[in-house]
Amino acid sequence: MIIGLNHYLLISAVLFALGFLGVLLRKNTLVIYMCLELMLIASTVALVAFSHFNDTLDGNVFVFFILTIAAAEVAVGLAIIVALFRQRHTVQVEELNQLKH
């Protein structure tokens, strides 16, 4: 079986769906956060695949940017989660509901 573009896109879609469902359904903030990362990774897989099959560098360049931003985001996001845990002693989203109205 020749592995073509569609296979990569399928993997990317499955990863994205997993990430999205995780964000929708999981209760733990840390896990939700990991799911967000999963969605980002899914998009990078698709981009690399496009780059490979179209013989251009555009997708690869995009991936570099996404990785850079994801790294910066992880630094900030994890710091917020740690600070939140110190303050509230929990990272369960149903208990983090004070910010409303």
Binding site: V23, L24, I32, V93, E94, L96, N97, L99, K100, H101
Partner: protein
């Protein structure tokens, strides 16, 4: 100094004086009074130098504001007309400053008073020197402000504070018309520069019509207290007497007449007719009111009104004989000929009136001080022995205003009467009758104040005032005598003096006889009629005539009170009601309520649950996708 620099120095010196007094010397009354008087003295010297130096119409104009096509500039137009007015303002102003040194010596707020005088001199000189209507308007408002400041000098008295407010508000009414007139003049002629307007008038390029001159005349009606806006001037006597002399007799109230002479090129026949009648009726009305006044300053105030009416009527009469030139089309709209006799007669009377009315007011101030602030003429009497200088100078003032031959008022009044006789017999009759009344009420006051026996303790212990007050009186008395002589006035007024109409031959004899008869009739009947008694002889003998005149005097105030309280106030209440419902209720509260409701609904989305937000996000993404693909 160059003439331009001199003129600028004249204009800016009083401003500097006022600034220094307002910023640093508010509690140093003595120093402030000397600075202000010194500034006035320097202005008088510089003015004389400028007037006698002979430089005229030097170019001086600076662009100040540029809004699209509209350029507002500040400039100086110094012609013979301005030179004459400058002489009146600076010399009379200086003498009144000197008088104030004595008159206001014991006042608590002396610094404020002299600062006010300085800011007034600045604004008045600005009107005199201005070269365009916008600049005149700016300084026009400034004299209104300084007049407000000085009328309300003794603001602890509620009557003074209210008189100041009244003067300011009534003037606003006139100034509104003035501003409209300026805008209309700019709109239809493209310029408000006086020199350019005169040039366009000479070349017959001006937009014709009675609206512009009549709207501009509204300003003069307010400032020169003509009917129907005359009500503020008698009340303005609440201010200190030097203020009445300077602002409400000699200079500011004459600014309206001066402004009319400035815009003479814009005049048309119909407008001049209206101006003439307004002036004539004011002259008669005020003279009638003056007969029943008890307050020495109120008599003079109504006399001022009456004389201002004379000037305005004289200006309006300048059109009459030109219309005779066009037979068969007498009612045609027509340009005025440049030999405008009305300007000459009006400015002549303005000048002589400034001298003798300032003299009369200052002498009245001297009487008031001498009698320990008593102003009721029925409580005075017999002052001629106790106040000889005041008596002599006051007598000269009275003789000048009633037109004794040889004194200033005689010549100027004759010029006006001659003009009236030539152009309009009805106006002539009214003005001649007014002259009878003038002689009547002036001699009445003179007799009650100075002759007979003292009728009150204040008058019994009256004393002559100090040198700072008598010296200006003497100088003004000299001016009141010589001011009308052609040698003096011709030198001061230059080309304006040539505009003054002069009767010749038999007409001259007629006019002379008329004015002599008029004067003798008025003065003689007053001398015989009024007894030196503590009650008004007219009230004793003819209660009906007396109360009629009092009613006439009060009728305008009553009418305006009724209008303000009953009509304007109710209209304002109606507007307020509508505003509460529509503007405040429907529009303001309505919109706020609607936005509040939307916000109340939108708040429901904001639950605090992270998962709910993810669903909203999903919904948003789906909607966006639907839009992008064209499904929605």
């Amino acid at each position: 100094m160059e003439p331009v620099q001199t003129a600028l120095a004249i204009l800016l010196l009083p401003l500097a004086s006022a600034t220094v007094i307002a910023l640093f010397l508010r509690t140093r009354g003595a120093l402030a009074s000397w600075i202000s008087t010194g500034a006035a003295g320097v202005i008088a010297i510089l003015s004389l130098q400028l007037i006698l130096g002979g430089a005229r119409n030097f170019p001086a104009s600076w662009e100040w504001l540029k809004l699209g096509d509209l350029v507002i500039s500040l400039g100086i137009k110094f012609d013979d007309l301005a030179a004459l007015m400058l002489f009146v303002v600076s010399v009379v102003g200086f003498l009144i400053h000197v008088f104030s040194l004595g008159y206001m010596h014991d006042d608590q707020a002396r610094a404020r008073f002299f600062g006010g005088l300085s800011i007034f001199m600045f604004s008045m000189l600005g009107i005199v020197l201005a070269d365009n209507l916008f600049m005149i308007f700016i300084f026009w408002e400034l004299v209104g402000f300084s007049s407000y400041l000085l009328i309300g000098h003794w603001h602890e008295k509620s009557s003074a504070a209210e008189a100041a407010k009244k003067a300011f508000i009534v003037n606003r009414v006139g100034d509104f018309g003035f501003l409209l007139g300026i805008l209309m003049c700019y709109w239809s002629n493209g310029t408000v520069n006086l020199t350019e307007l005169t040039a366009m008038g000479a070349a017959n390029q001006l937009a014709l019509g009675a609206a512009i001159p009549l709207l501009l005349f509204c300003g003069a009606v307010g400032k020169s207290a003509q009917m129907p806006l005359q009500v503020w001037l008698p009340d303005a006597m609440e201010g200190p007497t030097p203020v009445s002399a300077l602002i409400h007799a000699a200079t500011m109230v004459a600014a309206g007449v001066y402004m009319l002479c400035r815009i003479h090129a814009l005049m048309v026949f119909e407008a001049l007719q209206i101006i003439m009648w307004v002036g004539t009726i004011t002259a008669l009305y005020a003279a009638l009111c003056a007969i029943v006044q008890r307050d020495i300053k109120k008599v003079l105030a109504y006399s001022t009104l009456s004389q201002l009416g004379y000037m305005v009527a004289a200006f309006g009469l300048g059109a009459g004989w030109v219309s005779e030139g066009v037979k068969g089309g007498a009612m045609d709209v027509m340009r005025l000929a440049p030999d405008a006799a009305g300007v000459g007669a009006a400015m002549f009377h303005l000048t002589t009136h400034a001298f003798f009315k300032a003299l009369l007011f200052l002498a009245a101030g001297s009487v008031i001080i001498g009698c320990h602030h008593e102003q009721d003429i029925f409580k005075m009497g017999g002052l001629w022995k106790k106040m000889p200088v005041t008596f002599v100078t006051f007598t000269i003032g009275v003789l000048a205003i009633i037109g004794m031959p040889g004194l200033a008022g005689f010549f100027s009044k004759d010029a006006i009467l001659y003009l009236a006789m030539k152009n309009d017999t009805k106006v002539f009759a009214v003005l001649a009758f007014t002259a009878v009344l003038t002689a009547f009420y002036m001699v009445r006051m003179w007799k009650l104040v100075f002759l007979g026996e003292a009728r009150d303790d204040h008058a019994k212990h009256a004393h002559e005032t100090g040198l700072s007050m008598t010296l200006p009186l003497v100088l003004l008395a000299v001016l009141s005598v010589v001011g009308g002589w052609s040698a003096v006035f011709g030198k001061l007024a230059g080309s304006v003096a040539h505009l003054v109409p002069e009767a010749e031959g038999p007409v001259h004899t007629t006019i002379l006889l008329v004015s002599l008869v008029v004067m003798t009739l008025g003065a003689g009947s007053a001398l015989f009629f009024y007894q030196s008694a503590p009650t008004d002889s007219l009230e004793d003998k003819s209660r009906f005539a007396f109360s009629g005149l009092v009613w006439l005097k009060e009728s305008f105030d009553r009418l305006y009170n009724y209008y303000v309280a009953k009509i304007q106030q109710r209209f304002a209440m109606l507007l307020n009601f509508l505003e509460q419902i529509f503007l405040a209720g429907l529009i303001i509260r309505g919109f706020a309520g609607f936005v509040g409701l939307v916000g109340y609904g939108a708040r429901a989305f904001y639950t605090g649950s992270l998962h709910a937000y993810v669903y909203w996000f999903l919904l948003g993404a789906v909607l966006l996708w639907a839009f992008a693909t064209g499904l929605l």
